[in-house]
Amino acid sequence: MTFTLPPGLALQKVDERIMTLNVGPQHPGSGHMRIIVQIDGDYIVACDPDPGYVHRGEEKMAEYRNYITNIPHLERPVIHDSCNVLYPYVLGAEELLGIEVPERAKYVRVIASELNRCIYIMYWLAIYGIFLGHSTMFMWPAGDRELLIDLMEKMTGARVTHAHFVPGGVRNDLPPNFEDVCLRQVNYFEKRIKEYAAVFYDNPILISRTKDTGILSRQDAIRYGTTGSVLRASGVDYDLRVKEPYDVYDELDVHTNVMKEGDSYARSRVPWLDMMESCNIIRQALQKMPKSGSVRVKLKPNPKTKGLESVYKRVESGRGSLGCYIVSDAKPEPYRVKMSVPSFRNLIALPNLLKGEKLGNMPSVYWSLNYWPVEADR
């Protein structure tokens, strides 16, 4: 007996077989962005990421506010990595205003920055877990993140948007007895994240879902200009904390984590290794930090720069190298602030990675790019 499909179901032409699917912008698995995927059955033929739904005009806003007032709004793009997102702006403003930062403030900044990196990665990991249907991996990082948020709250007074870094140092000194509390909680945190290996990273279900999906070769990773954990997962040993040390990173022993595979698994594992490295850096910084001294240079109200000058500074944020280009023209407000964000650069690799993948692999590949929609749109 021969079986024939009714007319309309049997699609023979290639053009008719391909379906366009919009993932987002209201989809929980995409964030505030849209991925337009063209699928042939279960396989992705083409993919077009469509960011821009949460554009806030941060760069234009920065032209109407002075160097201090810019701080609260410039950290809004990535609220759970707010110290790192502000770091290049503050370094640039310091160079323009000609401020020498006290030694202790530099160490406090490094500690805050590394704590924030861990907070960001934990949030990212929690979402990566729930994208893959692993509810335990959503609950554990979300809970353990609390240890570090508690430290940031003691240190800066706010749980997420700290507004802690200012041109000239940090807003306030560390509270009394902070070093002991920080060391204890960071040590426990490191012990906790090592437990993630058994439940998540060595889990055969995760490995079968992420291994050999979305492979980004070393050449492509460099050619697309990807940064951060995506670049390091493709076998490029590049970390700005080592290559272009800012503040006191040249005095600390920073180890770069590199994996050669370049697949989703490597991209999900490198941030986890980075967290352990961050714990090492925090311990070193606590040891080497001057025990007393000023943490902030007193500035005049509405500080002005000397003339038409420009500066470009970049730091290693939780997602990769984050640059800030500031042009000033002897006014209290900067003439132009341009943020060069890692999220947007990592997104460029997405169409290439998804071509030929199954639709079910899309969340694991997409979120492994360490992409944060709000930062890309800024």
């Binding site: 609390e146 800066t156 507004a163 000194d173 058994a198 060595d202 055969p204």
Partner: protein, 165 residues
């Protein structure tokens, strides 16, 4: 490592947590402990004192009505408005004091950094919910009141894990 061993290891790692203590905080009954009495600023050294950035507190006997806090808030949240108060304070010739709209405030604390007269501090009070928008506007008289904040829970780390004890 085989698939079966891997799954057993993953399950085993989770099962261990049946015996560990609960990490979560029972919020309305238990409340977090903070360092100090809230974020403060010392204008003579130009450095702040660590503390939670919560609801503000205004010292009427220090406030001169100079509007620096209001100017600092321009471009950030525009939450501070200077309002007329009864003429009682000698140092405040214009008799104006800040009124803060917590529907707009982002709790960055730049107004505290701007005050040169030790008049505006932040407190540990973070429970500011209200049924109406008007209820979030705190007048100078309301800002004068020192809040009572229950603080009883802190992260404790023991061999059996971390808890809020």
């Amino acid at each position: 490592m085989g698939t079966a061993t891997g799954i057993i290891r993953a399950l085993n790692s989770g099962i261990k947590h049946i015996a560990t203590k609960r990490f979560t905080l029972r919020y309305p009954e238990e409340k977090l402990k903070f360092v100090g009495d809230g974020y403060q600023f010392d204008p003579s050294t130009g450095v702040g004192i660590a503390g939670l950035k919560g609801r503000h507190m205004l010292f009427h006997d220090h406030c001169t009505g100079c509007q620096l806090c209001s100017i600092a808030c321009e471009g950030v949240a525009e939450a501070i408005a200077m309002v007329k108060v009864p003429e009682e304070q000698k140092q405040n010739k214009k008799s104006i004091m800040p009124q803060i709209d917590y529907g707009k405030c982002v709790f960055c604390g730049l107004c505290v950094d701007a005050c040169p007269f030790y008049a505006l501090y932040m407190t540990n009070d973070y429970e500011l919910s209200s049924f109406s928008k008007e209820g979030l506007i705190y007048t100078p008289a309301q800002l004068q009141v020192k809040p009572y904040v229950a603080q009883d829970s802190e992260i404790q780390i023991s061999d059996r894990g971390a808890t809020h004890g």
